[in-house]
Symmetry: C2
Subunit: 205 residues, 2 copies
């Protein structure tokens, strides 16, 4: 049950504050940071404006509102997932090799887009934007499950764990990074290699 | 990145509503359900009273307030973790066997106390109660890391993954259950066996 996440120095916020004038992207960075610390439902536009150090009306000058920020943040994370599916490494070769590539690319995307993916993985489906984001996540789920199913059929993965369950467990392992990975503490290539290795060794036939 | 959690039919709430008069425990069930759906910070006492179908003042008759509910819920999950540490199965035998027992007991506790552990694992440390809960979680982390470290020293687990990282990955895998496990969909013994097996096979020397 290990692994602890705590609110930490809001680097994105400090960075955004140093960078003036604001643009939509730097405000999105701030919003994602605050959403991750307080929860989307617990955050008001006033909170976001305060965190950015600008007035609420200035904030509204750049962005439409809270839900638009959430949608944009989820889209950024989901676009990273779509890019993985479309990567040649995910398209060619034996299913087990494609699976290994997809796992590796997923860990790398988690590290590169950590705050965005963290937000995405905590979305509950309470609003239209969240429901849409969950639907796009499900597309990735199906893609991943198909890959595991194919690799089992090829005889490359163990057959005693049902494909959908195996997929959930392996991607559960990968996604747990958002709970414990802190940039800089462990070299990211060590995290990538250990995560992919642990996931795949356990799954191999 | 798979595994999707959505708000679902609030069974605890329906159950609590059928059961009158309310007691502190049934209201805690309702509160945990609502916290998990909307986030603790996004939930008001008014929301909780509405979900329970009673007035806010009746709700306050049974419980002190929102933070007391959060503390009680986290304590219930943390007491389950403490019970694992104190279980004879976690105390006797080779470290690798104790680790396997602890993983198995943890998955079982996750399944039995799913809403409570879900809430605990999402706590961010924003309030005094949350900080206290995170501190108790860290005790369990240290216990788990010590066990992995010992099992590596015994030569039973692979040496190419650093003990703290291996512990985070393996418990990340186990904890991911809160994201995708739905009671009744997959038999719980299959989930327990597959999870423990996948985690340990990947880790073995």
């Amino acid at each position: 049950m290990t692994a602890v996440s705590e609110p930490r120095a809001t680097k994105a916020i400090a960075r955004a504050r140093r960078r003036a004038p604001y643009d939509a992207e730097s405000l999105l960075d701030v919003a994602v940071q605050v959403f991750n610390e307080r929860g989307y439902d617990g955050t008001s536009m006033e909170d976001l404006a305060q965190a950015a150090g600008i007035s609420k009306s200035s904030f509204y000058h750049h962005v439409e509102g809270k839900e638009a920020l959430l949608a944009a943040a989820c889209d950024r994370a989901l676009d990273a997932l779509t890019a993985i599916r479309e990567d040649p490494l995910a398209q060619e070769g034996r299913a087990v090799e494609r699976l290994e590539n997809v796992l590796r690319l997923t860990v790398m995307a988690l590290i590169t887009e950590l705050p965005y993916v963290t937000l995405l993985l905590r979305v509950r489906g309470n609003t239209a934007s969240e429901k849409k984001a969950l639907e796009r996540r499900r597309d990735f789920d199906r893609f991943a499950t198909d890959l595991v199913t194919q690799a089992i059929a090829d005889g490359d993965l163990r057959t005693d764990i049902e494909p959908a369950l195996a997929t959930k467990l392996v991607f559960g392992l990968v996604n747990s990074l958002i709970e414990w990975y802190r940039p800089g503490r462990t070299p990211s290539d060590e995290v990538v290699n250990s995560t992919v290795s642990l996931a795949l060794v356990g799954l191999r036939a």
